[in-house]
């Protein structure tokens, strides 16, 4: 395989191929071009999946699955005990609002599952090396009935995940991928191409040809973020939009604002802003306000502060999402596996986008600014306080 792909949608085309991202091999010397982060087949597939009707209950999107394909027989993982399971979770990090929101949901779902007696979370603090050791410890400790892994990086966690698969404990992977199909199931939303395209298409449809677009990204090198940009880039090129800059914000609001101000100074004005993640979307819009300019067409994510501002200030915006409820799905899948119920080899979750039309249903005035609208947690015990709401 060439270059990285997103969450592995492409490789499952044959049904039984690796459900995970391939390695990023060779140096990525050209950030802007991103050719190595683009895989046409995956791209087409993800774009198509956006309109596919998912299987499962419509009011519980976290239980839905898109084109499930091969189902895995999990009877050999069926737990000996009927309850009091110890479910272990190796988390890459807890370092951004999206993950924090998801982490709370996951814990709540685990608490809400009577069979789970103990939910053990070990945080790798964004350190690959630490996560490898964490997983090793889980395997060698022999106390886990199931191991859930949210990998820090794709290629690097692969050996550890493979090691974990060799044990007789079921391994469940979600969010970012690994380069092996050994886990029982791999859970993820449609993917980065779809995310990037949702946002880019909105700008394509609204900004006049030749309009000036600024692309803001968090950081390089994370596959699920890379595909968002490579998914968008082609659309801009095709539409003849003028991407005046691609900048990394480190997810820092102040830096984001400074970057946008610099561009406003340099370019005079901007016609659209594309973002690969929405944590700093509000800061981006404020840069326009502070410069005394009207906010152009912008994209964000389902973070509550952005949605609120969108609604209150009447922004011209769109918010693709990276379904935060997948954190809940990970527990649900684990429960199924330990009960011996079958699960899809690759569990693809729906990935709704928030538009002007459906905005109202996602804005949550009683929830904190960094709450994620696609939480999928409203029916869990402890809502809304556990998520910081009133």
């Amino acid at each position: 395989a060439c270059g990285t792909t997103d969450d592995g949608g492409g490789e499952t085309a044959g049904g039984d191929s690796t459900p995970a991202a391939t390695a990023t091999e060779g140096p990525k010397t050209d950030l802007g071009a991103n050719s190595e982060f683009f895989n046409q087949e995956d791209y087409d597939k993800q774009l198509a999946q956006r309109t596919a009707t998912p299987e499962g209950p419509a009011d519980k999107p976290w239980e839905q699955m898109i084109e499930p394909g091969e189902m895995v027989d999990t009877s050999k993982y069926k737990a000996k005990k009927a309850d009091n399971w110890n479910v272990c979770f190796s988390n890459a990090a807890n370092d951004n609002p999206w993950r924090q929101n998801g982490g709370i949901t996951m814990k709540a779902e685990a608490d809400n599952t009577p069979e789970i007696g103990k939910f053990t979370v070990v945080d790798a603090e964004a350190k690959d090396d630490k996560q490898i050791s964490d997983i090793e410890a889980m395997v060698s400790g022999g106390k886990c009935d199931a191991i859930i892994i949210a990998p820090n990086t794709t290629a690097t966690l692969t050996p550890a995940v493979e090691k974990a698969c060799e044990s007789d404990v079921p391994v469940i992977v979600f969010d970012r991928g690994v380069q092996t199909d050994c886990p029982v199931t791999f859970i993820h939303p449609i993917g980065g191409y779809a995310f990037g395209a949702d946002a880019a298409e909105f700008l394509r449809d609204n900004v006049k040809e030749g309009g000036k677009i600024l692309a803001l990204r968090i950081l390089p090198g994370v596959d699920v973020l890379e595909t968002r940009w490579s998914g968008a880039k082609g659309i801009f090129e095709e539409a003849g939009l003028n991407v005046v800059g691609v900048e990394f914000t480190d997810g820092d609001a102040a830096k984001t604002k400074s970057i946008v101000s610099d561009y406003l100074q340099r370019e005079g004005s901007l016609d659209g802003v594309w973002m690969d993640a929405g944590a700093t979307a509000v800061a981006m819009t404020e840069a326009f306000e502070d410069a005394g300019q009207e906010i152009p067409f912008v994209t964000g994510e389902d973070q509550n502060d952005f949605l609120t501002k969108w609604k209150e200030d009447g922004l011209k915006a769109i918010a693709p999402t990276y379904s935060n409820f997948q954190w809940r799905t990970a527990i649900i899948a684990t429960t199924k596996i330990l009960k011996g119920e079958e699960v899809p080899k690759e569990w693809i979750l729906p990935q709704p986008k928030i538009t002007q039309e459906n905005l109202d249903q996602y804005v949550k005035p009683d929830m904190p600014p960094l709450y994620y609208a696609l939480c999928g947690c409203e029916d869990l015990p402890g809502f809304p306080q556990k998520w910081g709401g009133k």
Binding site: D95, D252, R266, E286
Partner: protein
């Protein structure tokens, strides 16, 4: 006295060298001002609007937090210590403010007061541990960095919660409107100048002279009656309070974010060193340290305008910082 030969004693044996002396002083500590001027001119050449009041004030506004942090870092550095905790302290300010204000404008001022108190208390703790308990400040404040980062998110459950109020945010975002020619005079720029002036006065006052003497030679200062522990603790308190001010400005400028303070401690120290402050204490001027911060921000602007590829930006920044500090050291040596 055994001698009337006073002509050779006292000062002024080479009064004619006064001009030369001023020149050499400027050469040694003035490098930063020259560098700053060069950058400003260069930026203006690249983007003529930079010199207009609006954009220039925008630049000052953006620089204000770092300038204020640099002043705080200066007090600590000149007394012979380090403060690596200011970055996380800035984050703490923003996160605590959001959690406590919850968008409620009436809570703004009490919370701001509280933030300043937190800054002072953290500074005091840093100072107390580093002086009375004799833990090297590098370690004290490194530990404090970890403690602050952990504690604040522990308290908020991982992510920032709540929201800042509009009037809180206006301090870092807005200013006095309707001033002719410049339109808006940002509050942060006013604060920056006020703090700058106050810092200069403080350094000229007895406290400042005792502080710098302590950094230069602790034993001599103590034997001269200086309460060295006390002045050092005060320096940390100042650093903490100024970090709180910077946090308030940054929270106002950018809104709630868990990233806001990341790496600021290094930027502040770099700014000071660019300005000629000697790590280890006893030397450097606070104006030059603040000029160092303005230079660093100008450097970021310059890099942006040069269109240096985002990736190589860090490399260029690193080379320039090393080059500038090396150049200053070279001039200092030449001038000695």
């Amino acid at each position: 006295m055994s001698t009337e030969n006073v002509s050779a004693s006292g000062f002024g044996a080479d009064a004619g060298d006064r001009g030369k002396r001023i020149l050499s002083a400027l050469l040694s500590t003035g490098t930063i001002f020259i560098l700053l001027l060069i950058l400003w001119v260069w930026i203006t050449i690249l983007n003529p609007t930079f010199a207009e009041p609006g954009p220039f004030l925008a630049y000052l506004k953006r620089s204000a937090p770092l300038v204020i942090l640099a002043a705080g870092a200066y007090f600590v550095l000149v007394s012979g210590n380090f403060d690596l905790s200011v970055g996380s302290l800035v984050t703490v300010m923003v996160v605590v403010a959001a959690r406590l204000i919850e968008g409620e404008p009436s809570r703004t001022w009490p919370v701001i007061l509280l933030l300043l108190v937190i800054g002072a208390v953290v500074g005091f703790a840093n100072g107390f541990i580093s002086t009375i308990l004799r833990v090297p400040s590098f370690i004290t404040t490194l530990g404090m960095l970890l403690i602050l980062n952990g504690a604040v998110f522990w308290w908020t459950g991982g992510a920032p919660r709540g929201a800042l109020s509009e009037n809180f945010r206006s301090i870092g975002r807005q200013g006095i409107e309707g001033i002719p020619w410049i339109e808006q005079l940002p509050w942060s720029v006013i604060l920056m100048f006020v703090i700058g002036a106050a810092s200069v006065l403080l350094m000229r006052a007895d406290f400042g002279r005792q502080l710098i003497a302590t950094g230069d030679n602790e034993r001599a200062a103590r034997l001269s009656g200086v309460r060295v522990d006390r002045v050092r603790i005060l320096a940390f308190v100042l650093s903490g309070v100024l970090a709180a001010v910077a946090g308030i400005l940054l929270g106002g400028f950018g809104g709630v974010s868990a990233q806001v303070g990341k790496g600021l401690e290094f930027d502040a120290i770099t700014a000071c060193v660019l300005g000629g402050v000697v790590l280890g204490g006893g030397r450097g001027s606070v104006v030059a340290a603040m000029a160092g911060a303005l230079t660093l921000e100008a450097l970021f602007t310059w890099l942006n305008l040069q269109g240096i590829s985002g990736a190589l930006e860090d490399t260029v920044q690193g080379v320039i910082i090393i080059g500038a500090v090396g150049f200053a050291a070279y001039r200092l040596r030449g001038a000695r």
